[in-house]
Amino acid sequence: MSRPGFVLEVDDRTPPLLVHNGEGFLLERFPLGTRVVYPPEALPPVRDVDEAIQNALLNPIESEPLPELLRAGMRLTIAFDDISIPLPPMKKPDIRQRIIEAVLELAAQAGVDDVELISANALHRRLTPNELRDIVGERVFRSFFPDGKLYNFDAEDSANLTHLGQTRHGEDVEISKRAAESDLLVYVNVNLVAMDGGHKSTSIGLASYKSLKHHHNSHTMIHSRSFMDHKRSKMHESAWRMGEILTQHVKVFQIETTLNNDIFGGPLEFLQKREWEWSIKDQASMLGTKRALAAAPAKLRHKIFTDVRSNYGLTGVHAGKIEPVHDKTLENVHRQHLVEVQGQSDVAIMGVPFIGPYNVNSVMNPILAACMGLGYYFNSYRGNPIVRKDGAVILYHPVDYEFSQLHHPSYVDFFEEVLAESTDPATIEAKFEKQYAEDPWYIHLYRTSYAYHGVHPFYMWYWISHALDHCGDIVWVGANRKTVERMGFRSASTLQDALEMVSHSVGRSPSITYLHNPPHLLADVR
């Protein structure tokens, strides 16, 4: 049985609580009365995954069964979510592999020859062949990759993009030509958090910059409250409008999956247990891990965390028409992540972990750390933000000056050139975005190497625009002072110092809420 999430109130019986802190963690004693939001425990997984997949494909929601949509001579395209989800990556076999194999099995029976598989990475970096193989599995990889039928989406390959039209708001819908011209597009999704899935899958995953810029901008993001609640998210509204246009042209068979919160296993299991329930073994594991990480060289520490693979149990798989499928998906996601929280607080505290969507097999640079904390974690709410307007956010992460030149080349220039001039999302959007988006060198690296698109760091910054607009103070604990200063934030040595620094805006006895994630949670703030 899994227990629901709940809000702990720190009292004299509360042991020090675990806080994620980049490639490490620490134990923190929070002031008495601090509210701590714990996510629900992992839901029981589906017992027979293959049977659940078959059931979803043969009994889809508001759609013909998949075998009826498959016929010889058709053009079938299978798009799938890229490496940015789930986080941490999933132990093999990946759920996408199991679904794609089931779809291909039916396609083979129907005699479909023209099949292509596309990683829906939009402006994310291309996946390496090994990363593609990890997602789709050896059989699929061997059957399609050598012939170029399994590949990454290229948003800058204008010859292979199709403009499907404009929404009633004048938004361009431009997606992969192959997908647009297919008789059937099967989208295989992993819905880790409430933001994913629905029309966001195809309308964003297979779209070009021309299309993405309509919703990936500071104005949209500041009015997405939050982007984890698609009914109150301007970004999702735009994607949904695009989805309407897209589905008028392309038949989409959406397959969405939801995962449980079983993220940390083995010696790291203590990371997903409630601290006062740590056994002697958990305490020993925590101490051993903490001291080993302290002694390990940075490279080894990085490797330890990069190699983390999660068990994840499947909590649901639904297929068919996009909207009703996504409604079912959200039910499952909410069942796993939603925690009711009464009222906002003056201060929100978050520990930024070692991984975010854009640094899988890479390093979390300062912009990604900010995006993870002030973007994803800050927006992990439904209703109201966890912190009141003009309240303070305190984050934990070292925020080292560290970039991957392979994966994030434009981030370096964004950090040095753009943020040096302004940290205001609207200003930098107006002044710099076009230049970075159209920079031929960044485009070249995006298309031929493994670099994120030149405009991607801007999107990360827009991701945090709601938090920047909402919060009066943002302080990082234990962070590199120079890097956080460049981003317009402040750094404190300890939590006590951070609370001291924000006391001018929230007072000496602020109400505090600590979001105890990962595992993932969605605060339902009433």
Partner: protein, 310 residues
């Protein structure tokens, strides 16, 4: 290198210290109050205690009880025992029932019993408290001859019945836990049920002063060798056809009368009991401090020693 090693050692010591304090090493773990509704009750696994009643274990226990335990108890408190002649009226095993307000109650009861009876006495102990770890369970079983019972419901253990059938006396604290203020709490029906079911007498015992000597939260008696009184009463027998529900109040009244007797005299207490006017031992309906104030009032020692000042 040397400096970094020193720093690593210092940081490791700091981390270990933080965990030791945070998770209360050597002490009972605590759950934050707001998390209590979410704690999953532990699967009850019955800790075997049969070994603690083998001849070898009885011999070891005898040594411990008559040696260090007796010495420490008498060094720290001043036990005053009365009514032992009531035990002479027994001709078989009995259930010994006492009020419970301190961890001192168990050794006090045990060491006040005649040796032959003490060796043949077992204690019912809360499974969730004394049997939550193997070392605590084994320790209490060897020293006090405890066996686990579930005080929060669950399956009724067959152990006490088996013990009575084998001729063992069984000590039960029917309040289920130590009193938070020294006054008697509601008696549960387990002891009455056992007595009726196995047709054995109940020996009521009133213990006074143990709360003042070592209340909840203290790990050792207060200084000053406080007096603690243990008074045994006559055996009670369930009448023909009497149900546990009817017998339980009689047991509670007998314990209350013994505590009343401790404050006055045997005859006065008997007279009050006869007309049903024994003063309530559940304490006044007052603020907690007043209830505690009353139960911690210093008691006169009857050992004849004079106090340093009056």
């Amino acid at each position: 290198m040397g400096t970094s090693l020193v720093k690593f050692g210092r940081d490791t010591a700091r981390d270990v210290k933080q965990v030791a304090r945070g998770w209360r090493w050597g002490r009972r773990p605590q759950v934050p109050r707001s998390a209590e509704p979410y704690v999953i009750p532990k699967e009850s696994t019955v800790f075997p205690t049969k070994w603690a009643r083998t001849p070898a274990a009885i011999a070891v226990r005898d040594l411990i009880q008559k040696g260090p335990l007796n010495a420490v108890l008498n060094f720290e408190v001043s036990p005053q025992v009365s009514g032992l002649d009531s035990l002479l009226k027994l001709d078989g095993p009995a259930i010994i029932v006492a009020n419970h307000s301190s961890h001192l109650d168990t050794p006090l009861l045990l060491l006040s019993l005649p040796d032959a009876m003490r060796r043949k006495t077992a204690f019912a102990a809360a499974a969730d408290y004394f049997f939550d770890t193997w070392w605590r369970a084994a320790g209490s079983a060897i020293v006090f001859n405890t066996f686990p019972i579930e005080r929060r419901g669950g399956n009724l253990s067959s152990t006490p019945g088996d013990l009575l059938a084998d001729g063992w006396n069984v000590v039960v604290f029917p309040e289920g836990t130590r009193s938070p203020d020294g006054w008697i709490q509601r008696f549960r029906m387990g002891a009455a049920y056992l007595a009726v079911e196995h047709d054995v007498p109940v020996i009521p015992v009133g213990i006074k002063g143990s709360f003042a000597a070592m209340p909840r939260g203290r790990g050792w008696p207060v200084p000053g060798r406080p007096a603690v009184h243990v008074r045994y009463g006559d055996p009670l027998y369930a009448a023909e056809g009497e149900s546990p529900r009817d017998f339980a109040p009689r047991i509670a009244a007998a314990v209350s009368a013994l505590l009343d007797e401790e404050s006055t005299t045997w005859y006065e207490a008997r007279r009050r009991a006869a007309i049903g006017a024994s003063p309530s031992q559940t304490g006044p309906a007052a603020a907690r401090w007043r209830r505690v104030w009353e139960t911690t009032r210093p008691m006169k020692s009857t050992d004849g020693r004079r106090r340093a000042w009056k």
